[in-house]
Symmetry: C2
Subunit: 363 residues, 2 copies
C-alpha cells in the first residue's frame, strides 16, 4: 500500500512545479502551493492540488500575470485598497492580509478591499491567518460567475464565499467558510457522473426552472451563461432562497463594490486578466475587553452547542472548522490523501518539469 | 371604507400607550413606537405594532426595566461595549448606535457589542440608520431560542438576524435584513391556522426529525425546548443547512460572545431580565476612496443584477430592501396598513389608557 505524501513534500513539489512549469516566482509558488495543499489536508479536495490544472488554464488564457507586483492603491490608518495588478491570487491576498494585520495591530481594526486579483484558494485560510493574531478575521471574494438571482436565469454572481474566524478557548478557532451557493459545482459533476438526480434547490436551467437532472444540466451549463446554481435556500422565497442570494450580493458589494473592481460577471473576460476582487477584515479582541475572558466566553457558548441534544441517529454536532482541523491534524500525522487521478496528474507535471517524484505519490 | 392611519398618528398613539400604559419614559416610548410603526410601514407586520402584546408580556414577567439607563462598559477609539442595564431594547440600541456613529465619524470605523439589552425591533432599521450617515451599517442580535443546530434537537440559538445596509447611487440603500432561520415562527403559525403542510427544511420535531405538519409541531413546540426551527438550507448538509446554522452561530458569537453577554439559550430566564445581546458595525465609505464613485459603482453592480434575465413566469428581480422601501413609500403616502385584529387590539389599548382614538383605526 502506498502511503500518502507528507504535507511538506507535497507543497514542495507543487511549488517547484509552479516555479519551473508555470513561471511563478519563488514566493508566488510557495504561497500558492501552501494554499493548495492546505485545502487537500483539510479534506477540501475541490480546492486542492488538482486546481493546478485551473491555474495552468488561467496562465494560458492570459488571466494571470506571474511576476506582477500588487500595490496599495488607497489607504487610511484603518483601511486599504490593494490593486493586485493581475498577479497571482494567493500572492496578492498574502500581500493584502500582511498589511491588514499590521494596520489592525496599530489601529485595532482594519478593512481591506482588493481589486484586479485572481483566485486566492480557500477563503478560510485567510480568515484563519488573521485569527492567528488574536483577531476576528474575515475573508470574502467574488469568483467566476456561478449562480443566478432569485427569480432570475442569468449567471451573474459567483459562488461568493464568506469566511469568518473567531478565536476561542484552548487555541481553537471557530471557522465558518462557506460558498453562498447551495452547493459548489463539484457536487453537480459528482451527481452527473453517478447519474443520480440532484435534490431541488441546487440549480435552475437556462429558463430559470428548478431542475434535478445533473446530466442534462451539465450540457446546457457550458452552452451559455443562462442557468446555474441557486444560492442557499434554493429557488424562490418559500425556503429563503432570497436570503442566500442576498448574502451572495452582499459579498459582491463588499468585494467588487468597495474596491471599485470588476463584479463577478465582468471577471475572466476573453483574453483579459481575471479581475477577481476580495474583501478582508480584521479586528483585535481587546476592542471589547480582556481577550482571555472573551475567548473563554466564546468557548463556553460553543461548548454548550457542541454538547446539546443530538437528533435521532446522530452522535455529533460539529462546530464550523472542526471537521477541517481534525482532517488537517490527520494529514500532518499520516500524510495528505490524494485520489489516484490527482496523483497521476501530479506525477505527469513533475516529469514534465524534470522533477524527482516524491514519496507517496505512486508510480 | 376606513382609510389607514398615518405614520405619525400611529406612532404618536403607540408612544402614548407605551408612556401611559407601560410606564416607558418619553424617549423610550418614542423610539419603540417608531421601530414598531416602521415595521408595519415596510410590510413586516410580524415586527409591527402587534408586538405591543409581546412588550406587555416582557414587562409583566420582569424581563425589561423601563427607566434603566444603559452605560458604556468598555471603549476604545473605534469600539465600545454597552451594558443595556435591562432597559428598553430600542432605547438601548439607539444609545449604542448614536455613540457608534459618532466614533465612526472620527475613527472611520466603529464596532459595538451590547449586552443585557432587550428586543430592539427590526434589525434593518439600525443598519439603515448607520447607512444614512454615508457608512456601511451592520446590525445583529441574538433572540429568544428558536432554532436547532445541524444534527441537533434542542433549541439553543435564536432567529439571530443579519442586517447590512450599503449606500448606493441616487440615495438608495442595499438593505439585507434576514433571520438566519429558514422562516420565522409567524410562518409556521400561518400554516397551522390554514392546516397546510409546511415544506421540508423549516422545522424538526422534539427528536430532531424533519416534519411538515404545522399543527402537530405547534403542540410540541410549546411543551419543551426540544424541536424547533431549522436554519437556512434546512436539515443536514445536503442543501447547506450547516451553512445556515453556521451563520446563526456567527451572529451568536458576535453578539453574546464579544459583549460577554448571555447567549440565546440563557436569555429570558424565568423571573429574570431578558439579557439580549446585539452587535453593530459602521464604517465610512471614504475608507476606500471617493464616496460618490463608490456609491455609483455599487449602484452599477445592482443595476446589472436588477436588469438581468428573468426566470420563466417572473417579471422582476428584487434587490434587498426594495420591497420594503416601496411599501414604506406607499405607507407614508396613504397610511399604514394594519389588519382588523391589530386595529381592534390598538383601540382597546388606547381606551384602557384613556387616549382618543386616531383616524383610520376603525371603531
Amino acid at each position: 500500500m502506498t502511503r500518502n505524501p507528507t504535507f511538506d513534500d507535497l507543497s514542495g513539489l507543487c511549488a517547484s512545479i509552479l516555479e519551473r512549469g508555470y513561471g511563478y516566482g519563488p514566493e508566488e509558488a510557495r504561497i500558492t502551493a501552501t494554499l493548495l495543499v492546505e485545502a487537500d489536508a483539510r479534506g477540501i479536495a475541490s480546492h486542492g492540488v488538482s486546481r493546478l490544472a485551473f491555474y495552468r488554464q488561467n496562465l494560458d488564457l492570459g488571466h494571470v500575470r506571474p511576476g506582477s507586483e500588487p500595490r496599495v492603491a488607497y489607504e487610511t490608518p484603518c483601511s486599504l485598497v490593494v490593486d493586485g495588478n493581475a498577479g497571482v491570487g494567493c500572492y496578492v491576498a498574502g500581500f493584502a492580509v500582511d498589511r491588514l494585520i499590521a494596520k489592525a495591530r496599530d489601529a485595532g481594526v482594519c478593512l481591506c478591499g482588493v481589486r484586479n486579483s485572481n483566485h486566492y484558494g480557500i477563503a478560510g485560510y485567510w480568515a484563519e491567518l488573521i485569527a492567528a493574531e488574536g483577531m476576528v478575521g474575515m475573508a470574502f471574494t467574488n469568483t467566476y460567475i456561478a449562480g443566478v438571482p432569485t427569480y432570475g436565469k442569468l449567471r451573474i454572481l459567483g459562488t461568493n464565499p464568506i469566511a469568518v474566524a473567531i478565536p476561542e478557548a484552548d487555541g481553537r478557532v471557530f471557522l465558518l467558510d462557506m460558498a453562498t451557493t447551495t452547493v459548489t459545482h463539484g457536487k453537480v459533476e459528482l451527481y452527473d457522473r453517478r447519474k443520480k438526480p440532484m435534490p431541488k434547490g441546487w440549480v435552475v436551467d437556462e429558463r430559470g426552472r428548478e431542475v434535478t437532472d445533473a446530466t442534462a444540466f451539465e450540457k446546457t451549463f457550458y452552452a451559455s451563461n443562462f442557468g446555474g446554481h441557486l444560492y442557499l435556500g434554493g429557488a424562490g422565497e418559500e425556503s429563503g432562497g432570497h436570503k442566500g442570494f442576498g448574502l451572495a450580493l452582499l459579498v459582491e458589494l463588499l468585494c467588487s463594490g468597495l474596491s471599485l473592481g470588476a463584479s463577478s460577471q465582468d471577471t475572466f473576460p476573453k483574453g483579459g486578466v481575471a479581475g477577481i476582487t476580495h474583501f478582508f477584515a480584521g479586528f483585535r479582541l481587546d476592542l471589547f475587553g480582556d481577550p482571555a475572558a472573551l475567548k473563554g466566553h466564546v468557548g463556553g457558548i460553543l461548548k454548550a452547542v457542541r454538547e446539546s441534544g443530538k437528533a435521532e441517529g446522530q452522535d455529533r454536532i460539529y462546530i464550523h472548522g472542526e471537521k477541517e482541523s481534525e482532517a488537517r491534524a490527520r494529514s500532518i500525522g499520516s500524510g495528505v490523501f490524494l485520489d489516484e487521478a490527482t496523483k497521476a496528474y501530479l506525477r505527469g507535471l513533475a516529469k514534465d518539469c524534470g522533477l524527482d517524484p516524491i514519496e507517496g505519490l505512486g508510480a
